[in-house]
């Protein structure tokens, strides 16, 4: 048997809003990524090959799961469109679906299965059609059963919708309670209800009360109380005298001293109440903050190159600017304003100067050709707010208070990569070009693209 996992972006949109730093398909449930639960179940059901289909980005999932050899299966990846029906999905993966029996797991829902049970037998006997479903998800079998059974027992599993923070919290807590008896969960432990990852430092005076799941690279400092019902993710520090019970601390989070996290989810500097879905972002890094990895060396080189290029451009533009700006301002052709735009990184925003050179006169044309309208923006490269070339800054509006997920790798800049290319005819095309170069560009390529963008304006 083979399995198709079909998950549409709209089904996990809420995860992108609630936990922007986590890929929704890698959302940790009891320190195990969501997709791994699906893979485990597909293997229990007798699958030797699995294909993950989505209309959203799969790069991070692919980096994590690779080719499936870790599980002894073949794992491949493909695309679907949000409106694709089941027959269309099967048709689009026709080469993959060569086996008679295909299991299709659709939707962003959690499968309550039991690893002790042999699902392969059930799946080979079940007739074609939907064999389990819940709002927003289902398991469907395609193709005839291997053998026909007179009477089929009920399939020993249930599906639970994973459609909001409350259901995520509940499923996580239930998984923690059930523990390794039902699922394959990460971590080591010599007694049930307690799983501890690698490189975990637990102070002698701290207390661990079952059930708990603690990830990798965790420090629990003196006097801290963890549990009962605590899920501590990877790369977490729980500082002195703090308590975490019936709560989830997601990866890369620092919990300050003397704090009590009870029935809440902490992620970075944000504390979420799962029952109401309300969240609060802490400004004080000593209370609650995200643990960020240091900038990579490549990023530092890129910033230096961009700074040098900006310095040269400012030097070249300064004299024409000083000559043309007063004239255009007097003629009313130079219109400037301010706009609040999203910055690189979740929740960051800043005010940017906007300039519009109007009219077709020779002075206005010359100023536009020399990109003098970008000079105020070039200065923002020195403050680290903008890059010289990257994404078009996205204004903050009522609809885009949070930067939409489609702007992955967003790097606001003075010039956009799309300006350097000749083919984009609309915003959608421009976004495609920007996303391509955000991933593929190098610091040197950035310089050549900036030159192209400048030349295209001449």
């Amino acid at each position: 048997m083979k399995t198709l996992l079909a998950i549409r972006e709209r089904e996990y949109e809420w995860v992108q809003q609630a936990f922007p730093s986590i890929h929704p398909l890698l959302l940790p449930i009891c320190n195990k990524p969501f997709t791994e639960f699906l893979i485990d179940f597909a293997i229990l059901a007798g699958s030797t090959e699995i294909r993950l289909l989505s209309d959203g980005p799969l790069g991070k999932v692919e980096d994590y799961c690779e080719d499936g050899s870790r599980w002894g299966i073949k794992l491949s990846y493909g695309h679907l469109q949000a409106e694709d029906s089941l027959p269309e999905l099967l048709n689009k993966s026709r080469k993959f679906c060569t086996d008679d029996r295909i299991m299709i797991i659709s939707g962003f829902s959690f499968i309550h299965y039991d690893k002790q049970l042999g699902y392969a037998n059930f799946m080979s006997l079940m007739p074609a059609g939907t064999c389990a479903s819940c709002p927003g998800g289902n398991i469907t079998l395609a193709g005839p059963p291997e053998t026909s059974a007179q009477e089929l027992p009920a399939l020993p599993l249930t599906l639970m919708p994973l459609n909001q923070i409350e259901s995520y919290f509940r499923i996580s807590m239930e998984t923690l309670e059930t523990g390794a008896a039902r699922y394959v969960l990460p971590g080591y432990g010599n007694e049930p209800g307690c799983a501890i990852g690698r490189n975990v430092v637990i102070s002698k005076s701290s207390e661990i009360i079952k059930p708990v799941s603690i990830g990798n690279n965790v420090q629990i400092l003196s006097g801290a109380v963890i549990g009962p019902g605590a899920i501590i993710g990877n790369n977490v520090i729980v500082d002195k005298e703090s308590t975490v019970k019936s709560g989830i601390i997601l990866d890369n989070t620092y919990i300050g001293e003397h704090l009590e996290i009870n029935g809440r989810i902490a992620t970075g500097n944000t504390l979420i109440d799962p029952a109401r879905g309300a969240s609060i972002a802490m400004e004080d890094p000593h209370l609650l903050s995200g643990i960020r990895s240091a900038d990579k060396r490549g990023s530092a080189i890129r910033k230096t190159v961009h700074l040098l290029a900006a310095a040269i451009l400012v030097a070249l533009q300064l004299i024409p600017f000083l000559l043309l700006f007063p004239l255009l301002k007097l003629l009313g052709r130079w219109k400037s304003g301010m706009a609040i735009c999203h910055g690189a990184g979740h929740g960051k925003s800043f005010t940017l100067p906007t300039t519009l050179i109007t009219g077709n006169g020779p002075l206005a044309s010359l100023a536009s050709s020399l990109s003098l309208d970008r000079l105020p923006l070039l200065l923002r490269i020195f403050t680290g707010q903008l890059a010289i070339i990257g994404s078009t800054p996205v204004p903050v509006t009522l609809e885009t208070v949070v930067l939409p997920g489609e702007h992955q790798g967003y790097r606001p800049a003075v010039f956009s990569y799309a300006e350097a290319e000749e083919w984009p005819v609309n915003d959608s095309d421009a976004a495609i070009v920007e996303r391509y170069f955000i991933v593929h560009s190098t610091p040197l390529k950035d310089i050549s693209m900036t030159l192209k963008a400048l030349l295209n304006r001449l």
Binding site: K92, S93, W423, D429, I432, R435
Partner: protein, 115 residues
């Protein structure tokens, strides 16, 4: 880059081998099935080794021109390198993508029959 065109009923299969970048897109755009906006095509990208933003632009431009004339551009048999480019850029949301050329031809035939 090598382009081969094969007719499958009313649909043309355009198989591209090699590199599709700024230096080769003109050649693709000149090929008969691509330059005819009313002709539905299935682009077989199994042997496409490299695709850059200009190549992607050529594919998107082709799709747009053909859709204006109610024709389709479908993609089949993408290898992992090309698939990643489509995914990074979100171009996979614009195209219908198949892992089998025959399935893509069937789908294109159904689409054109509906029009």
């Amino acid at each position: 880059m090598n382009i081969s065109e094969t007719q499958a009923g009313s649909i043309t299969i355009v198989a591209i081998t090699g590199t599709l970048d700024a230096s080769t897109t003109k050649e693709l755009l000149k090929s008969p099935a691509i330059s005819n906006p009313a002709q539905s095509v299935v682009m077989d990208l199994e042997h496409l080794d490299f695709l850059d933003s200009s190549g992607l632009g050529a594919l998107i431009g082709t799709l747009r021109k053909k859709r204006e004339r109610s024709a389709e551009t479908l993609i089949s048999c993408m290898n992992d390198r090309v698939r990643r480019v489509f995914e990074i850029t979100n171009a996979h949301r614009i195209f219908h993508i198949f892992d089998d050329t025959a399935a893509a031809v069937d789908y294109a035939t159904q689409l054109t029959a509906r029009i």
